[in-house]
């Protein structure tokens, strides 16, 4: 297979992957974020403390998460058909991808939001804030860097899942690697696909980390009293960081 033959194939595959991952991420974030927050709020001692609701939602999330993606995809076929009108092609893949990613992202959101200091919630309540105000003004903004990291992880996982979706004819890079690379012994094409995936995933991870760290740097990451004297020596933003500071921030991001 020559490069001129491969190029259109790869180009199309790249777009298909981006399309599937893009849409399913959008859906997963739109539904997983509220779900994760509800999990925190309904937990015992939470603002909406409701043990029964928490248990039910938690169970649904666990069941969906424990299901292997390939089984989920097949099991969801009737549902997918009802929504998109097809079970194959990139549209057909978006539904199972999104459904698979929602509980995954929701659990990550739950962990991130739980990290928010309870004192901040109390402070907003003491100002007369409602539960909705707490969510909007405290829980989400305060956990934003961590939420962005969670979204990045979800995108990376979805790229992996989307390759599996290739097996039901969804197209995309994974599909190319299997159909041409594996089944037709086009080893060269397979390695190119692997390289593209590696580059794409690195780029996404880098962008995610960059965004999360950018938010983190805004006055955060310097709360450690030990480092306060270093902070005073430098102008606030865009200042060169000392190695210690940089190290702390990296470890916090991790």
């Amino acid at each position: 297979m020559t490069w001129s033959e491969m190029q259109p194939l790869l180009e199309q595959a790249c777009w298909d992957t981006l399309y599937m991952v893009g849409w399913s991420t959008a859906v997963a974030v739109a539904l997983g974020l509220p779900l994760g927050i509800v999990l925190v709020l309904t937990d015992r001692g939470g603002l909406l403390g409701n043990a029964a609701a928490n248990k039910v939602i938690g169970q649904i999330v666990n069941i969906t998460r424990s299901m292997p993606f390939i089984v989920l995809m097949v099991a969801l076929m009737p549902f997918t058909k009802a929504i998109t009108g097809t079970t194959i092609g990139r549209e057909g893949a978006i539904v199972p991808l999104a459904i698979g990613a929602i509980p995954f992202f929701a659990r990550l959101v739950e962990t991130s939001v739980r990290e928010v200091d309870g004192g901040l919630v109390e402070a907003v309540q003491s100002m007369g804030g409602s539960t909705w105000t707490v969510v909007r003004k405290v829980l989400v903004p305060e956990s934003l860097p961590s939420l962005i990291s969670s979204a990045t992880t979800t995108v990376v996982v979805l790229i992996g899942y989307s390759a599996m979706a290739g097996t039901v004819g969804a197209g995309g890079l994974g599909d190319i690697a299997i159909r041409f690379g594996h089944q037709r012994f086009e080893t060269e094409l397979m390695w190119i696909t692997v390289a593209i995936l590696a580059v794409v995933i690195s780029l996404i991870q880098f962008a995610g980390d960059y965004a999360a760290r950018g938010l983190h740097r805004r006055g955060r990451g310097s709360t450690t009293p030990r480092l306060r004297f270093l902070q005073h020596g430098y102008p606030a933003e865009g200042a060169p960081m000392t190695t210690t500071e940089a190290a702390t921030q990296t470890s916090k991001t991790l």
Binding site: D117, S126, M127, R218
Partner: protein, 352 residues
């Protein structure tokens, strides 16, 4: 301004019950700084959280600024609209500041104003005004992570004042600060109390806080208020634990057969040379074992532990003389070997 009656809070967890508040009656008058002091676990935090109903009391009532807050509680766990409205008129300052790290100082102060629904321009104007009031107008654009502890607490205070409250609750506001910063924050609270007529209810475990800013104080132990009153009333109460703790005097008798007496001076008596008069009138030698003098609310007060020769029976007349001079006199019984000297029981008999 703040009144609680029979306030009780019981925590239940796994079938076990812990009584944090056991029928607390608190009366904070308008415009005063009221300190509640006690060791950790005494129920101070529960008390202050019950005042704005962050914690829902098991029984009893809370009235703030003529409004019975306990009556505003809905049936569910969430705070209803009326209660939230009432809370927005009660400022609260926290030990760990509780500032949002994702917002700049100005935006932190604007937060309560957002909740109150003010327009953007109004919020900015008010926030800058408040930052000016606490002396931080140059830090408006900084983030909390870039501030020192004292500065953070100033932001916390500015934020608490955003809703133009009549009442400020301070939950160990200075406990995470060093002594120097503590002093400046307390001065700020005192200043706000005078300038804005703000009623301040503060809880603390530091006697110095009570000494520096409080008009009145209460001592909490095991969920109950065991002593309360204005600071000068407390000092005038013989055997008051708070007075003893505010002005600790120590010292053991130098030998058997001597009388140890705690004398509390305040008001007029503090300025008269009572001890030397006593010595001259009765021709006795007096040794001073310990003494503490300070200025509380602009008045000089002090305590002194003195030793008179001979047992109590021989010293009835000189002690009577001290009482005639308007001093509070407590006879210290010889310390038991197991007890440290400063915890020696003071006999509860006072001046008429």
């Amino acid at each position: 301004m703040i009144t609680t009656t029979g306030l009780t809070k019981v925590y239940r967890s796994r079938g076990r019950e812990v009584t944090a508040l056991d029928g607390v009656d608190l009366h904070v008058k308008e415009g005063e700084v009221y300190g509640v002091i006690g060791q950790s676990g005494a129920g101070k935090s529960s008390l202050i959280r019950c005042v704005n109903l962050l914690e829902r009391p098991t029984a009893g009532t809370v009235t703030v600024n003529g409004r019975e807050l306990t009556a505003l509680v809905g049936r569910g766990a969430r705070a209803g609209k009326e209660l939230r409205e009432a809370r927005s008129r009660i400022g609260m300052v926290f030990q760990h500041f509780n500032l949002l790290s994702s917002r700049s100082v100005r935006d932190n102060v604007e937060l309560p104003l957002e909740i109150l629904g003010l327009s953007g321009r109004e919020r900015t104007r008010k926030a800058l005004e408040l930052l000016d009031l606490v002396g931080l107008s140059d830090k408006a654009k900084a983030y909390p992570g870039q501030l020192s502890g004292g500065q953070k607490q100033r932001v916390g205070i500015a934020r608490a004042l955003a809703g133009d409250p009549k009442v400020l609750l301070s939950d160990e506001a200075t406990s995470a600060l060093d002594p120097e910063t503590t002093r400046s924050i307390l001065e700020l609270l005192r200043d706000l109390n005078r300038r804005l007529g703000l009623t301040v209810l503060l809880i603390t475990h530091e006697m110095d806080v009570v000494k520096t800013v409080c008009d009145s104080a209460a001592l909490m132990e095991n969920g109950r208020i065991v002593e309360s009153g204005t600071v000068s009333e407390l000092l005038a109460t013989p055997g008051s634990q708070l007075a003893t703790a505010l002005f600790p005097v120590g010292g053991d008798a130098s030998g058997p057969g001597r009388t140890v007496v705690d004398v509390t001076f305040h008001g007029d008596a503090a300025t008269r040379p009572v001890i030397s008069q006593l010595s001259r009138t009765y021709n006795i030698d007096i040794s001073i074992l310990g003494a503490a003098m300070d200025t509380v609310a602009g008045k000089q007060v002090g305590r002194m532990r003195i030793e008179l020769p001979g047992p109590f029976e021989e010293n009835v007349v000189p002690i009577g003389f001290l009482r005639e001079q308007g001093l509070q006199v407590g006879i210290v019984e010889p310390a038991e070997p197991t007890k440290p000297a400063d915890r020696a029981t003071t006999v509860k008999e006072g001046a008429k």
